[in-house]
Symmetry: C2
Subunit: 209 residues, 2 copies
């Protein structure tokens, strides 16, 4: 199955500013994106990046500067379902998690993201259109119902976590299986002691909080 990976090439991961320079944030975003692309390919599917600007990648890249939902819907129309959509910042992604999403039965299969979002979709109904932001999980289930599509929700921690804030880096260090945890360790990020895991940069001793 073809799987779109939307990517905002402009100013990625701004909430990680306390830890990284702008160049490092761009580099880390590319590592995360690479982990998602690799997991899709290892699961036997065909990744295709949908980027707001030119990027280096070892898979096809479709450039579309329009807002996320507009760009995804245009690409979906062109690909014609079945097609998958996976966010580019899933730092815990594994081939098995991708397979659970894409192999689940259902006209519309959703992998919820923490905070009400939708981190993964498998669309088999050609009438379904995405509508990201503002609690997209609810909107997507409602839209699927409006299409008369059957809906399946995949229960995956690995797909639920998108890397957004410093605390998410702790999850990547603990559970990530791609290149992202290695990149973080090489850049001095480590788990800080404490009851709820957070991270610090061992080079400067800054905590995430």
């Amino acid at each position: 199955m073809r799987v779109l990976v939307p990517f905002d090439a402009r100013e990625p991961n701004t909430r990680l500013t306390p830890f990284f320079t702008a160049d490092q944030r761009r580099e880390f975003a590319a590592v995360l994106r690479g982990d998602v692309v690799d997991a899709i390919r290892a699961a036997g599917h065909e990744p295709e990046l949908l980027s707001t600007g030119a990027i280096d990648a070892d898979c096809p890249v479709r450039i579309d500067e329009r807002p996320l939902s507009t760009a995804v819907n245009a690409a979906l129309t062109e690909l014609s379902p079945p097609a998958g959509i996976l966010m580019a910042d899933l730092g815990l992604v594994t081939p098995a998690a991708v397979s659970r999403l894409l192999d689940s039965a259902g006209d519309v299969v959703l992998a919820p993201g923490l905070g009400g979002g939708t981190n993964g979709l498998c669309v088999r109904d050609p009438a379904f259109r995405v509508d990201y932001h503002d609690g997209s999980y609810r909107k997507h289930t409602a839209r699927a119902r409006d299409c008369g599509a059957t809906v399946t929700t995949v229960d995956s921690f690995r797909l639920a976590l998108d890397v957004d804030e410093p605390d998410d880096l702790a999850e990547v260090l603990l559970h990530g299986q791609g290149d992202a945890p290695t990149w973080l360790a090489e850049h001095g990020i480590e788990i800080a002691p404490g009851d709820r895991c957070t991270v610090r940069n061992r080079n400067d001793g800054n905590g995430a909080q």
Copy 2:
């Protein structure tokens, strides 16, 4: 399989203080605990509460005032594995998620919690002992290795989320399938509009942030 559900009867869910009175927090903790007990039973297993004090429940209750890990290890020794352990505040729990934990092969099966914790365990190795707090996921995988036990990690969003902070209530409203989302709605808690889901109490208009 017998499944221990540790419960701190003293002062539950203090971080939900902005939304609820102490009585309401105790009531909500009982609802969450009831959802976990019901899901264990619906999955075909035998729940047993391990409480720091007397509580009302429709399943066996074992009282132990000692710290969490001490109490769980004492109960594990007595029950003799295989046995399960599930936290009492898993607001997204379902029978299917419980089955994925308890049916997975492995001498020690772990369901990670967000923040480095361990929200579910299935222990088949009698030498394994728990050690909660301070990033228990890492400690549990290390301890299992020290026992020579095979380790399996279950990829479940439903088991990863424990209800701790106001934002977690949004997840319960969106994805919960037990009595907890109903209780929240009855107490005025609803999703607040915005990109990342949070909650507010419609009775007083307070947001979570």
